[in-house]
């Protein structure tokens, strides 16, 4: 079998150098008219040196990024059960409406009279979110989940301060929490106090009780939690933290499991961010953008960030300054007014599903996860019993003595044509494998996945170590040297030195 090619291309899998390796002086991919001759007003600040951007034509650029895209795996490619990330179908109608004239081309500082539709949209989306969560207020500006966490924590801090509770500095955070939870707490000035999980994968009630005290500011709980389980004692936990003078921050990253069925407001939650890029399907885009509107309880609703939309009769206005606010906003977190592009997509998604469709979303998401759990628990190991919520958690116990790790198993899944599940998170089980199918996968897709997982589990137990240790083998790149990358970081292209140039 001939393996070598002159070009390095391999049929449809095409090599593509960096942009910077393809430039030629004077070449460009845009045509712009001759600028009018004017007297420069740049003062002493005019650029003297070249930026050294490479010059490519439009066809080259289109081909470059087309080829890059072909090395990626997205939801559109196949099954993407990345736990905690809710990789559901991203409808194209949402991409269309966000680009509509009158939405895509609004400047954020246009006068209010020219953006009434935009403000109404934000207000309507807020209404959906409040109704679905059973909460009386929502801060729309946070840019993602972590930013929403910060927003909620700032609201808690502001409320505590306004009640003279400046000394409450301790935030209780389960060990299973996502890394952003403690990081956000720290970014808001709290100290983080971890609470352990019990054998059922939930907050250990007794350990929790023991942590309560006069310096406790609140707790950050994910529900359903990061093990994919509903915290059954949640109402009790909420009551306990409230009794202790603290507030309940709920991480809403897993809201997809309960949307249309459970309202966080009914559980005693004081604030919760909603990742519109998870539950409400705005695309993940290879690492964002997201949007993290944060709902607030009565206790916290006065302590929201600026700006926000207020409806006066038929007119919508933006409150942008503390002086214009009836409430006690804690200030601004972000430029302008929030991730409008995500709002447009999210409301299109909500309108498409409606009340009934959203309830079906959580039902099907949970059904799909339980189907995976039920179909794999005999060959893989599920540390906690079922039923689970929207994701099925396994540990690496079933790989014991095979010499195969969770990572190896994940890489073999890549060869099988899947994006691996979330690995090594949550931290509370060993070698975690967290599988979230979402509701937009068909039974047929799940059956194929289940068959493949059973096949791999069998191969692992049968000692076919090679299949795992050397995986992936069928991808354009094999495993990459991450240690080497971190040891001597090369974080950008640099022009070849004079030696290298001469050698060329």
């Amino acid at each position: 079998m001939t393996k070598d090619t002159y070009t390095g291309h391999r049929g449809l899998m095409l090599e593509e150098p960096l942009l910077f390796e393809q430039g030629q002086e004077g070449r460009t991919g845009v045509d712009l008219p001759e600028p009018a001759a004017v007297k420069s007003r740049l003062g002493a600040c005019a650029r003297g040196r070249s930026v050294a951007l490479p010059g490519l034509s439009e066809p080259q650029v289109v081909r470059h990024f087309t080829r890059l895209s072909q090395r990626n795996y997205g939801i559109d490619s196949g099954f993407f059960p990345l736990g905690s990330c809710t990789m559901k179908h991203n409808p194209r109608i949402n991409e269309k409406v966000v680009r509509l004239a009158g939405l895509g081309d609004l400047h954020p500082m246009q006068p209010e009279s020219t953006v009434q539709g935009a403000l109404r949209l934000i207000d309507d989306l807020a209404d959906w979110l409040m109704k679905l969560t059973g909460m009386p207020a929502v801060a729309m500006s946070p840019a993602a989940g972590a930013h929403g966490e910060l927003c909620g924590l700032m609201a808690i801090r502001s409320k505590l301060d306004s009640d003279g509770q400046q000394h409450r500095m301790r935030m209780l955070v389960p060990e299973s929490a996502h890394g952003t939870n403690p990081a956000s707490a720290a970014a808001c000035g709290f100290t983080v106090d971890p609470i352990p999980a019990n054998k059922r994968g939930r907050v250990d009630l007794e350990a929790f009780r023991a942590k309560l005290g006069d310096d406790v500011a609140g707790m950050m709980l994910t529900n359903p939690n990061t093990c994919g389980l509903f915290e059954n004692d949640i109402i009790e936990l909420a009551a306990m933290i409230h009794d202790a003078g603290g507030y309940f921050y709920c991480d809403g990253a897993n809201f997809n499991a309960i949307v249309g069925r459970v309202r966080p407001g009914d559980l005693g939650v004081d604030c919760m961010h909603i990742n519109l890029h998870k539950t409400f399907s705005t695309p993940h885009g290879g690492g964002g953008p997201g949007s993290g509107p944060t709902v607030l309880s009565d206790a916290l609703s006065d302590f929201a960030p600026l700006p926000y939309v207020v409806k006066d009769g038929d007119h919508y206005r933006l409150v942008e300054h503390p002086g214009d606010a009836d409430e006690k906003p804690f200030g601004r977190m972000k430029g302008f007014h929030g991730q409008m592009g995500m709002f447009v997509r999210a409301i299109a998604y909500m309108l498409s599903h409606g009340r009934d469709g959203l309830r079906q979303v959580s039902g099907d998401a949970v059904l799909n996860a339980n189907y995976i759990l039920a179909s794999l628990k005999d060959v893989m190991t599920a540390p906690f019993g079922g039923p689970c919520m929207h994701e099925a958690l396994f540990d690496d116990h079933f790989l014991k003595d095979t010499g195969i790790s969770t990572l190896d198993f994940a890489k073999a899944m890549i060869d099988e044509g899947f994006h691996p599940m979330t690995m090594y998170f949550p931290l509370v089980v060993h070698g975690a494998m967290l599988m979230e199918p979402t509701e937009t996968e068909s039974r047929e897709a799940l059956d194929e996945f289940i068959g493949s997982m059973r096949f791999l589990a069998e191969k692992a137990k049968a000692g076919d170590v090679d299949r795992f240790k050397n995986a992936p083998q069928l991808t354009p790149w094999r495993r990459l040297d991450e240690t080497g990358a971190a040891r001597k970081p090369v974080l950008r292209w640099t022009p070849p030195g004079p030696d290298q140039q001469a050698a060329e």
Binding site: N72, I414, T440
Partner: protein, 447 residues
Amino acid sequence: MRYLPLTEADRQSMLARIGAPSVDALFKDVPEQAYHDGDFDLPDFKGELEVERILRGYAGENLGANSVPCFLGAGAYHHHVPSSVDYLIQRGEFLTAYTPYQPEIAQGTLQYVFEFQTQVALLTGMDVANAGMYDGATSCGEAVAMAMRITKRKKAVLSGWLHPHYREVVETNAHFLGTEIHSEPSDPLTGTDLFALIDDETACVVVQNPGIFGHVRDYSDLAAACHEKGALLVMIVTEAVSLGALKSPGEMGADIVAGEGQSFGVQLGYGGPYVGLFATRQKYVRNMPGRLCGETVDEDGRRGYVLTLSTREQHIRREKATSNICTASGLCALAFTIHVALLGEAGLDRLAKLNHAAAVTLAEKLEALDGVELLTDSFFNEFTIRLSKPADTVVEKLAGKGILGGVPASRMMPGAGLDDCLILAATETATAEDIDRFVSSLKEALA
């Protein structure tokens, strides 16, 4: 429902395997009193045609900047985005991917992030850049936090020419962290003497170039003064196209550059999502917030890219992370990368010149008007004028005539005595007719 593939037959067979009588039974861990019957006061599902009609309804109540002369800036700029950018970012392999956790099947994302980092470093004249932040304002907040980490000092000095949104974000963070922010008052005429404010407690001085009122300045001396006191100079860029015309922050001696990347490839979209730029010196790399992509090789020795230095990040470091950021702004960074790739050196240079020429042309025509005073001495594509009438009422009048005629300074800086100040930007999208229509309408509005 078109997005939900399970049929009723599927559900029954799946429940049978699970051994549950119903989907509701799977929710048995939910306390009964909190299990909702689903009867929300919200509408039922809708087809695509209906949804599109509703969204067109919202859009129809707005005045889009593409349909009228637009002279708004103040942190977001009305540039033309080549259509190949918008096509490419919508390719499903980019759009529907996650953060590149599995590099073997994410080299597309990783390579463009590496290219983005390089472009940002080149444009800003800095050594390294990260994969992007939420937006310019939060990037500014992260820059101040990083400066405090590096210097282990707790005070920051903010120029009066810093975008008020950026200032407010820094102040919000500081309020909760108990750090000290000295914000100079906003004044379009006098830049304040920041030199005098730098002391041994100062972690950083934050300046913006061009400033919120449009001024361009060489901050080299200020950088030197900062360094002398062991402080860092943080430079903010809200109009990235200006980097094609101005001496770079790196050349001026900036230690951290934070900025807004919207001008390249990202639609105005009523303020977001955008992408925060973040660059710094090599020596501060391990103090940076956000994701970083690095070059490496695979098992066959083939060049490839991975996320790296993640021990700085929340998923490893938790409460000790350099930032809490997780999802950032990948797709906007892609749009930026493609647009800058299309421009190249020649295109960037031309684009910057066009912007400057448009602004100079506008300024010249406005200077000739009665009741208008130009306040910004040197500028790129944005400047401030003083009017003989309150700026907000003038802007409303212009809007009534279908012209988006600038940002009243008072909207961002109420109570600063700037009610008669109007901030104007002109880009390559402003035609000669747009400018003339604006100038004559402004003349009328001031008469």
